[in-house]
């Protein structure tokens, strides 16, 4: 990979793990400022609160209200930039999505959904 545009090519792009599983989008980016050195791209951030920070104002309040009401403690997933394997129309990570907190809500809902009949048996739908 060579020169890139951080906003155009990375921010808001789709994150995908090794197996092609979608892991959310790049909601935020952490830079590291070091004296006398160019800022380093440290981490990609995934999370609703990260997104809310970018919208500011009433969206932040909305996010806090939602977290308060649902009791879900907001989690920010930090992906070290070194884990990025390839940047094209999507960003591929050298990681296993299921293990990261980016899919925490997905796993939490899985437990509820599996109790509903027809949610996980073969019903003409792909297993993928």
């Amino acid at each position: 990979m060579s020169s890139l545009d951080l906003v155009h090519d990375v921010l808001d792009m789709q994150l995908v793990d090794r197996a092609g599983e979608k892991m959310g989008r790049v909601d935020g980016i952490t830079l590291e400022l070091r004296d006398g050195e160019p800022p380093r791209v440290a981490e990609l951030l995934v999370g609703g609160t990260v997104l809310a920070d970018r919208l500011g104002g009433w969206m932040v309040a909305l996010a806090q209200l939602f977290a308060h009401v649902t009791g879900a403690k907001p989690v920010v997933t930090r992906v070290p930039f070194a884990v990025v394997q390839e940047i094209s129309s999507t960003i591929t990570l050298d990681a296993q999505g299921g293990a990261t907190s980016a899919l925490r809500t997905e796993r939490w809902l899985d437990r509820i959904i599996c109790r509903i009949p027809g949610s996980s048996d073969k019903s003409g739908k792909e297993q993928k």
């Binding site: 979608k22 959310g24 989008r25 919208l55 997905e106 949610s119 003409g124 792909e126 297993q127």
Partner: protein, 405 residues
């Protein structure tokens, strides 16, 4: 049969634009108050939707990503937020009125009040989405939707003067009730080019795994779909013009529409009208529920596909489950379906610029579309649609007040 499978996506999407609860009512109102004179609004709506569907389909075939993906990626979360909020709010209202449409069809058929049917309809819709694949929804709704051909049969049975129908396809100013005339034109246009349609079509192109080999299929699907949907909506205007106008009947409550096809086709006319209303509104219910879940999932980067088992894309399947049952509540509480469609029609028109304007940038961005960027015709059409959508946005509220329900 395989050929029909290919264009099913176009048929279903155009049913959602021309033969759902709002469009059937507005076409009947247009015909019963202005005869064939508002035919041009249906024509303009179908041509506009044809272009918007072709473009959102081409966008998905070339990039294998959907319109909502591109909106978030090209314009960032801020550029994505306003269209997202507008589409979710407007589509939810339309979704409620669609469930109301099915409920009213069942009420007219069984005599049991429409409020009773709200939750059973939502449950049946959820069941189809939970168990069925995208193909089931797409081909099932398209096949069943063919019943709406009864509008054409009724129109032919009334022996209309086709030349005066054609004359109605040329825009002309009304002799009376100007505000009402333009309000109905706005409703026809607002209903036919609603954002959830091309968000659905774009997601459908990805679900059907379209690639650049499908660009010609995309053009055929978009045009045939709209000739079907727009053509039958026009037939609805014709039948109302020949049945209601001479008798001085103005459509104010949905129940009046039960008689629309009976003078032409007698008892089958009544049965097939209810079947059409119930089927097309049910198909549109599935379409909008999926569209809402698609836009949210794609915007936030979740796993999404109607072809996956619900447990493989839990956030997506949870979203459409909550959406469809939530949308049934206004009908359960007895909301007036016609009023609901009027409000949603106006808000749809008001939300159009937010999704049409970004499309201009996307369809001309060589990084996105490579050599499949818009040609001159596409850009002229898109700019015309964008201007029309801004005009609709500006006149939507005043017209509703002066010419509304």
């Amino acid at each position: 049969m395989k050929k029909f499978g290919e264009i099913a996506l176009g048929v279903v999407t155009s049913i959602g634009g021309f033969l759902e609860v709002g469009s059937i009512a507005t076409s009947a109102q247009a015909g019963s108050e202005f005869g064939f004179q508002l035919g041009w609004a249906v024509l303009v709506g179908s041509v506009a939707l044809m272009f918007l569907m072709e473009m959102s389909g081409r966008l998905s075939a070339v990039t294998t990503r959907t319109f909502a993906d591109q909106l978030r990626e090209r314009f960032g979360i801020r550029g994505f937020l306003l269209p997202l909020v507008a589409v979710l709010a407007v589509s939810f209202l339309v979704l409620s009125s669609e469930i109301g449409g099915v409920a009213i069809a069942l009420q007219m058929a069984t005599g049991v009040g429409f409020r009773v049917w709200a939750l059973p309809i939502a449950f049946l819709g959820w069941l189809v989405l939970w168990r069925g694949t995208f193909g089931t929804v797409e081909k099932g709704a398209a096949m069943l939707g063919l019943v709406s051909i009864v509008f054409a049969i009724a129109a032919a049975a009334l022996h209309p003067r086709w030349s005066s129908i054609a004359a109605g396809l040329v825009p002309s100013a009304p002799a009376h009730d100007r505000a009402r005339y333009w309000y109905l034109a706005l409703s026809i246009l607002g209903a036919s080019i609603s954002p959830y349609l091309y968000f659905f079509y774009s997601s459908g192109a990805v679900e059907d795994k379209w690639t650049t080999e499908h660009l010609s299929v995309n053009r055929v699907t978009a045009s045939l779909g709209n000739i079907f949907g727009g053509g039958l909506a026009l037939m609805g205007v014709v039948v109302a013009a020949l049945v209601f106008l001479p008798r001085g009947i103005r459509v104010e409550r949905y129940e009046q529409l039960g008689m629309l096809l009976t003078p032409a086709l007698h008892h089958p006319g009544f049965v097939f009208f209810l079947a059409t209303l119930g089927i097309t509104c049910f198909g549109t219910t599935l379409e909008i529920t999926l569209s809402l879940a698609y836009v949210l999932a794609q915007g936030l980067g979740w796993t999404w596909s109607e072809n996956l088992r619900p447990s493989r894309d839990s956030r997506f399947s949870t979203t459409y489950t909550i959406t469809i049952f939530l949308a049934a509540i206004p009908i359960l509480l007895g909301a007036d379906v016609l009023k609901l469609t009027n409000v949603s029609m106006v808000l749809t028109a008001a939300s159009l610029p937010l999704s049409v304007l970004p499309l201009i940038v996307l369809m001309n961005d060589r990084e996105v579309m490579e050599r499949h960027v818009n040609g001159i015709a596409g850009n002229v059409a898109l700019v015309a649609i964008a201007i029309m959508s801004v005009v609709l946005f500006v006149v939507a509220v005043p017209l509703q007040i002066m010419g509304g329900g």
